[in-house]
């Protein structure tokens, strides 16, 4: 009788302990960002007095400041431009390439697949000097389209991997039926297969967008003019200008991160699934 009681109590205690530990850990994961978001609505004075308190009133001054001095709208537009073209190209190339790799046996099939996936392991910093000098010599350095090439190349592997595994699960009978009905190769890929791949295309599209929005190293190396600068570069420049004005810095960080936060709120399940798929499947 007593031993059952003790067991019950132990179960009850471990239940509380496990949940408590997990809640504490989750808070440490997210609190710094929440702290930054609400602090960005405080005035510098209010923040200096008490760094932890919630803002007494919502002050948009920091945001006005940020938008006035650093052109966050322009930087965001540049990043959006790269992302729209980059994501579209990544998806089209990935669909076509995965279709060939998933459906046909041909010479060099393994080689092509291996090459693309190999790009995931290469430290991009090994490529910066040659990319810089090649881009420079063919007039691709510091243009509106400069970053799109590395972004497609390094966004492609993950997308290709996920799309290819997804396509392997689509029945081949579909292609055969399409062929009998007189569908050409292009039509089969783009009107039969692509719509069926929609779930994975949404996932990979989001992942590629996040990758391009967050990217910093290529932008730092291959761009020079302010008019082409991406949000990451813009943020870095802004942080330098406001090195002791923390609330304005925070407003800048929030502005640069807002799209990612919104996307994560809506699509977190898909993002988690997509980003861990490679490791989970081995």
């Amino acid at each position: 009788m007593t031993s059952i009681n003790i067991k019950e109590k132990l179960g009850y205690i471990s239940k509380i302990v496990v949940n408590l530990l997990m809640v504490i850990f989750s808070i440490t994961c997210i609190y710094p960002v929440i702290w930054m978001v609400y602090s960005s609505f405080k005035t510098q004075n209010e923040f200096n007095m008490d760094i932890l308190s919630l803002p007494s009133s919502i002050s948009l001054e920091n945001y006005a400041n940020a938008l006035k001095t650093a052109n966050f709208i322009k930087y965001s537009a540049n990043s959006l431009f790269n992302a729209v073209i980059g994501v579209t190209a990544i998806i089209i190339i990935a669909i076509v390439t995965s279709y060939f790799i998933s459906r046909f046996e041909f010479k060099g099939r393994k080689l092509i697949y291996g090459l693309f996936l190999g790009a995931m392991l290469i430290p991009i910093h090994s490529l910066l000097v040659p990319l810089f000098s090649i881009f420079n010599s063919i007039g691709l350095y510091n243009t509106r389209f400069t970053l799109i090439i590395p972004y497609i190349t390094f966004g492609l592997p993950t997308t290709l991997f996920l799309t290819e595994s997804f396509m392997n699960n689509l029945p081949k009978e579909l292609d055969e039926a399409a062929a009998i009905d007189g569908c050409t190769l292009g039509r089969t890929i783009f009107t039969i297969i692509m719509p069926l791949c929609k779930p994975i295309l949404i996932t990979t599209g989001i992942l590629s967008f996040v990758f391009i929005w967050n990217e910093y190293t290529f932008a730092l190396t291959l761009l020079d003019s302010d008019k082409y600068k991406t949000i990451s570069l813009g943020l870095a420049k802004f942080q330098g200008q406001y090195s002791s004005d923390y609330v304005t810095q925070m407003a800048g960080i929030v502005l640069a991160t807002l799209p990612i936060i919104i996307i994560y709120l809506v699509f977190n399940k898909k993002i988690i699934e997509g980003m861990t798929a490679g490791a989970v499947k081995g």
Binding site: S14, W35, P123, S126, N214, A256
Partner: protein
């Protein structure tokens, strides 16, 4: 005849459909790697003048104390992050897999969140977190009475390399925890049930059954953590720019500065090649030792 191309494409169709991707890859990855290799044998500052120096750059690298400093800094980051990221992730995954846990889905989404933030945003957040007067960290340590642990986080040349590693741990615990959690749920319920019948429950089940079966997943996480932190760059650039002095300079920052601050493109390329080799060697060792474990 025409319909059959859908199931058996002609040769030109292979070129048409696969060509763009392959060409892009050759242009942006293969050629640059070969070029980096070529540049590494030259003394070159970007202009027309390129002096062939053979292995000169490589010899200089091995004589440069700053290179060794960057390498050892990089290995410190890799070591701390390996233990921190994967080690804590195992604990978190264990907690999350507990049948007692409430709101598992919300926890999953929350702990994963830092992973999607950009490296430089993480860097800037932590610069503020580390701030002497206005940072959350010092406030927290003050509040719980651990004032003695406070030091100038990003300004102490001896300790800065540790300070720049903690944000990396913070960012990626959730990522590895979710992967490990998936690995745990892949362990078949039959195995778990039969071990429960044999009396392995609670901690014993974890230590003798779950962790050993999780080894391949842990190895994958370890490999990704090592590979990721060998090429770490943005986070540290955002936090310290490699400083104070060179005390938080890692290989990628060293290569970047040699190339784009001092315009020593040949030398910078040689550093890049060394970096590539070091990464390959370390990944191979991890892969090899992980495989050895599995055969036992």
């Amino acid at each position: 005849m025409k319909t059959s191309t859908t199931l058996k494409p002609r040769k030109y169709q292979y070129f048409l459909y696969l060509g763009p991707g392959v060409l892009l890859y050759i242009f942006a990855v293969i050629i640059p790697i070969l070029w980096a290799l070529r540049y590494s044998f030259y003394n070159w500052s970007g202009g027309a003048k390129m002096d062939f120096v053979g292995l000169g750059n490589y010899i200089e690298i091995f004589k440069d104390p700053l290179f060794w400093k960057s390498l050892s800094n990089n290995l410190i980051v890799v070591g701390i992050c390996l233990v921190g990221q994967v080690g804590i992730a195992i604990i978190i995954a264990t907690l999350l897999s507990s049948k007692y846990i409430k709101g598992r889905q919300i926890h999953r989404s929350v702990v994963f969140f830092p992973t999607v933030l950009s490296a430089i945003v993480i860097g800037f957040i932590w610069v503020i977190m580390y701030n002497k007067d206005y940072g959350l960290l010092n406030w927290f340590l003050n509040t719980i009475g651990l004032k003695s642990l406070i030091y100038p986080w990003l300004d102490d040349p001896k300790k800065v390399i540790y300070s720049v590693s903690y944000p990396l741990i913070w960012q990626y615990i959730g990522y590895y925890a979710i992967i490990l959690l998936a690995g745990m749920s892949n362990i078949s319920s039959e195995v778990l049930e039969s071990c429960e019948i044999d009396g392995a429950i609670g901690w014993r089940k974890l230590v003798y059954i779950i962790y050993p079966l999780l080894k391949p997943t842990i190895a994958i996480c370890a490999m990704m953590s090592i590979a990721g932190n060998m090429k770490i760059f943005d986070n540290i650039m955002a936090m310290t720019n490699g400083g104070p002095g060179s005390s938080s300079t890692v290989l990628a920052i060293y290569a970047y500065k040699q190339s784009f601050t001092f315009f020593r493109f040949g030398y910078g390329s040689a550093v890049s090649i060394v970096m590539l080799l070091v990464s390959v060697v370390i990944i191979s060792i991890t892969k090899f030792s992980a495989r050895g474990d599995n055969n036992d």
